[in-house]
């Protein structure tokens, strides 16, 4: 067995996007299906061989070479059967005229970025963009996507097919997309990465609590976007927000899988190195005067990260930031709810009760549960145990996953 040792974490997943990007650049987006098949096939071949012999000395080069050969064979085969004619010429051209069909890291990063921008094409629906980005750039298979986004396998399959057809049509040549385009489109890409991150972070539907994979991939792609748009404060703010989020993951879930609310978290479990990364990006965003929602959210998170304990949290500042956020997104019940929570800690639970009672539930998933749970907790802190108990009962009936129910039961016991 080879002694080249271990593969880097997420090596396959990252290389999936890398290989698709390289191949799409050289052979064209019109062969996207064949490219994805070749990449999947390559991993299966790796699984067969590496399982017995260990990873090769240069796993990256091995994967690239095998994927390229598989694609060339598939394209040759297709041209023989459908008389496409000039595919042979294309293959010949590429192998002889392109001295380095496997561009160095820098060019490859560009390729992935171009692919990322293509996947976030505005002609696609939001959900479709999330699906196709994870599928093409992060190597998420259909069952994995269905599981991560709580969708039916058939629905995922159809969405991916649809998006691929559109991508083939709209982005025939990745080389034409340059980095300036990527930077220009960074707001669209940011939206998708923000949604992917939240999809992993939100606990409403998942028994696992946090889907680390989704968060990790969103963070990785945001860093990729940052290489093209280093001057975009929005990207900096998004990265800051993500780092502040992942830094606190270890403290959010107990070893046995229960939610741990902020006030009970062991802050020594927060990853200070990641928090420092967050502050670095926040700093960069700060200098530009940009004050969009990622920035405000990152600032709020930074206050939590900077507080040595729950009592020392600067709730007045957080409350103010939520007010600003609410001005940007007046329709969001979630932001309003969060503002009231901050206010309840800033000036006390009693003054927010009236406003809490006037909030109507909107279409945000899980919002009814959050509202009931928030009311209950505020009543509990205000000393109104009867109201608190009733609201907890209501929350329990609205809970959509075992972690949420568990948390509510614990709080009820504490009354």
């Amino acid at each position: 067995m080879d002694t080249s040792g271990q593969l880097a974490a997420h090596f396959f997943r990252e290389h999936s996007g890398r290989m698709v990007a390289s191949l799409a650049r050289v052979y064209g987006m019109e062969h996207l299906d064949a490219i994805l098949d070749a990449v999947q096939d390559t991993f299966e071949t790796a699984l067969t061989h590496w399982r017995y012999h260990g990873p090769p000395h240069h796993p990256r080069a091995w994967l690239s070479r095998v994927a390229r050969n598989k694609l060339i064979n598939a394209l040759k085969h297709a041209s023989r059967h459908h008389h496409v004619g000039d595919t042979e010429a294309l293959l010949h051209d590429v192998s002889t005229t392109d001295p380095d069909p496997w561009p160095a890291d820098e060019a490859n990063t560009d390729g992935q970025l171009q692919l990322l921008v293509a996947c976030c094409h505005p002609a696609l629906g939001e959900r479709d963009r999330i699906l196709i980005t994870l599928h093409i750039l992060c190597g998420f298979g259909i069952p994995e996507l269905a599981n991560a986004l709580q969708m039916k396998t058939e629905a995922v399959k159809k969405a991916v097919q649809r998006s691929k057809a559109l991508l083939r049509q709209k982005t025939p040549n990745l080389r034409q997309l340059n980095l300036a385009d990527a930077a220009r489109q960074s707001p669209t890409v940011c939206t998708i990465l923000y949604l992917v991150f939240n999809e992993g972070y939100k606990a409403t539907r998942n028994a696992k609590g946090i889907d680390f994979d989704l968060c990790y991939e969103a963070l990785r792609l945001a860093k990729l976007l940052h290489t093209a748009a280093p001057a975009e404060a929005e990207v900096d703010a998004l990265l800051a927000l993500m780092f502040f989020g992942v830094a606190r993951f270890p403290a959010r879930l107990a070893a046995y899988g229960d939610w741990i609310p902020l006030e009970d978290q062991n802050r020594s479990l927060w990853d200070q190195q990641l928090i420092a990364e967050g502050f670095r990006y926040l700093d960069q965003a700060q200098h530009s005067g940009y004050a969009g929602n990622y920035y405000l959210e990152a600032l709020i998170a930074s206050h939590h990260c900077a507080a040595p304990d729950f009592e020392a949290t600067d709730w007045k500042a957080i409350h103010h930031l939520y007010q600003l956020l609410e001005n940007l997104e007046p329709a969001s019940t979630l932001i309003r709810l969060n503002r009231l929570i901050a206010k309840s800690y800033a000036i006390g639970p009693l003054p927010v009760i009236t406003e809490l009672e006037t909030i109507a539930v909107d279409g945000t998933p899980g919002i009814a549960f959050l509202l009931a749970a928030t009311k209950a907790h505020v009543y509990q802190r205000a000393g109104n145990t009867t109201r608190a108990r009733a609201a907890y009962e209501e929350a329990l009936s609205l809970a959509q996953n075992p972690l949420d129910s568990q948390l509510i039961r614990k709080r009820m016991e504490a009354i």
Binding site: M1, Q6, L7, H10, F11, F12, R13, S16, F43, E44, A46, L47, T48, H49, W50, R51, Y52, H53, G54, P55, G139, F140, G141, P143, E144, D213
Partner: protein, 114 residues
């Protein structure tokens, strides 16, 4: 020390495995073989190509054999070193392939009697 042949049987369809799972599968095997090598229980291992031929009888009838996708067939082999079949079975139980619901078969290789 006796030699044992361990055959891996699986249906060679990895379509449902995610990239992460494939990587995990490779890493588990790598660590396992490293461990066996340290204990002196590992001699060699090779995967087998999925295609092949089945040749039968006096007529030498050649068919594709049971290597179709979706059917369980031998996908590779190991030569293990152990004192007894019992020990070989214990070693084989550690094969990570079992975690993916594949099957293994352990047989002692009969040496030529002197």
């Amino acid at each position: 020390m006796k030699e044992f042949l361990m055959l891996i049987r699986e249906d060679a369809n990895y379509g449902e495995l995610s990239a992460e799972e494939m990587q995990a599968c490779i890493e588990k095997h790598y660590r396992w073989v490293e461990e066996l090598t340290e204990k002196g229980q590992f001699k060699e291992a090779q995967p087998l190509e999925a295609g092949g031929a089945h040749i039968r009888g006096k007529q030498r009838i050649v068919s594709d054999g049971p290597f179709l996708e979706g059917k369980e067939c031998v996908s590779g082999y190991y030569i293990l070193l152990a004192e007894s079949l019992e020990e070989a079975i214990e070693i084989a139980k550690g094969n990570p392939d079992l975690d993916w619901d594949r099957a293994v078969e352990v047989r002692e290789i009969m040496p030529m009697e002197d």
